[in-house]
């Protein structure tokens, strides 16, 4: 498996990042080097029969009573907003029309 420039562009779009042509070439090289190293896990015998480890400790679902607790106020939640209007976060328009 080798990463192409097209892959870099597709992944960048998914990750919501933008790169110059030069950066794309550099990233392609670096990703291929790291992924090439990572590919050695395919040498592990019998890996297909191993169950994936999803939880690192034995905790099960942690529930609490469904009652409201103290949380951030509107003022606090909006405190770091780059732009706001009244009680809302303000963002640019969604569609360019």
């Amino acid at each position: 498996m080798s990463v192409t420039i097209k892959d870099v562009e597709k992944i960048a779009k998914l990750a919501k990042l933008k790169f110059t042509e030069e950066e794309k070439i550099k990233l392609q090289g670096e990703m291929n080097e790291v992924l090439g190293y990572i590919d050695t896990i395919n040498q592990i015998p019998g890996l297909e029969d191993v169950k994936p480890l999803e939880n690192i400790n034995d905790t099960e679902n942690v529930f609490r009573e469904d009652v409201s607790e103290k949380c951030l106020t509107k003022e606090e939640a909006l405190k770091n907003a780059p732009e706001k209007t009244e009680n809302f976060f303000k963002v640019p328009k969604v569609l360019d029309k």
Partner: protein
Amino acid sequence: MYNDYAALRAGLDTGRVSCRDIVGFYLNNINKGKHINAFLLVFSEEALKRADEVDQKLKAGTAGKLAGMVIAVKDVLSLKGYTLTCSSRILKNLEALYTATAIQRLLDEDAIIIGKTNCDEFAMGSSNENSAYGNVLNPLDNSRVPGGSSGGSAAAVAADMCMVSLGTDTGGSIRQPAAFCGISGLKPTYGRISRFGLTAFASSFDSIGPFAKNIHDAALVLEVMAGKDKNDSTSVDHRVESYSIGLNDFNLKGAKIGVISDLDESALQVEIKDTLNRTIEMLRSKGAQIVAVELPNLKYSIQAYYILTTAEASSNLARFDGARYGLRAKDSAVLEDMYVNSRTEGFGAEVKRRIMLGTYVLSHGYYDAYYRKAQKVRRLIKEDFQRVFKETDFILAPTTPTTAFKLGEKTNDPLAMYLNDIYTTSSNLSGNPAISIPAGEDSSGLPIGLQIIGKDFDETGILKLGNCIISNS
């Protein structure tokens, strides 16, 4: 000035010294060591004010168990009312709205927080060269890195800018800088300390832990921070031991210490290998039983680690989009552009590289080939440890393949940088506690760290053995 907190506390309790004196001493060292760039924020006035409050409590006999202990915290941890930058441009002016549980528990015992320390951006890095606010220098040799990602926290303790500091360890980010700076650094068992208020990098790996010049102080702050927290559902409800009590009474006779016989030593500096061997001989001569153990899947830990942590990071860092907080790029015509431009301007190169890798391994067609497989490897590594810990109480290993390297030496080679974590990532994959302790010096006088890995929740054991090795070397 004081070798450990117990000595300081004796001075405070008898009135020979005040918290104000102590804070003044550390502030002076921070000022003298500005070129190290260990701190992003110093609480000069607030710390002195708090010192006076704690002095009053000491006089009244109501002071907590960490009264007057001066602590610095890595700037990925929230402290209400202060900036939380994660060493990233994207959070340059973010004001934290709440305090991390780990910090709150220290404050409740009257510790004094002196500032927030520099680190690699979002804790991604092994040299502290990925901070948007400049490199941290190794206080022992300014041409070298302090290690990373918790480089500022390690440097601050090594340069006597605080007594203890907090770091975070996702793949070695406490242990490796501790080794490079000649101090002790503890990564507790996963879930031992609440992650509430810690900016997530890879949630199933991240652990908060202390740096200190001696084991007693590390044990004391662990004791205060550990325990279940309702705000972190992955924190574990396991009994918190009095880690700081009885550290000196450890009997090496009968202790089983594992040495990894199939460890990859291809890049291991000879002097580190010699230090390891000398320590093994010392332990054997004092009655410890040295057990050869095999961890056949250890050689796949970096691979599994970089698949899983970049995947988790790509998902965790999706929240930084310029909408609700953090940097928003100017002049974006539509919402989508705002997301893309803010992230592109706000994140540094290494963070982008990891988001790209993580997005790739989670993307359609590659999920099973990478992510799923890495989860399987994680199980194999965890099972390796579980099996080995039936034969032995501890594993003794190097912390790093080399001593502190030069600034700029590995910045153009991400893979070489990643391989620096070759001995540390495994205990984040398995969740086991591990500590790096200073164990010697190489021929250039740079510190060598050794690592003790313990059974799940046996922080007491690794602290005791670490203390024993330090006092015998």
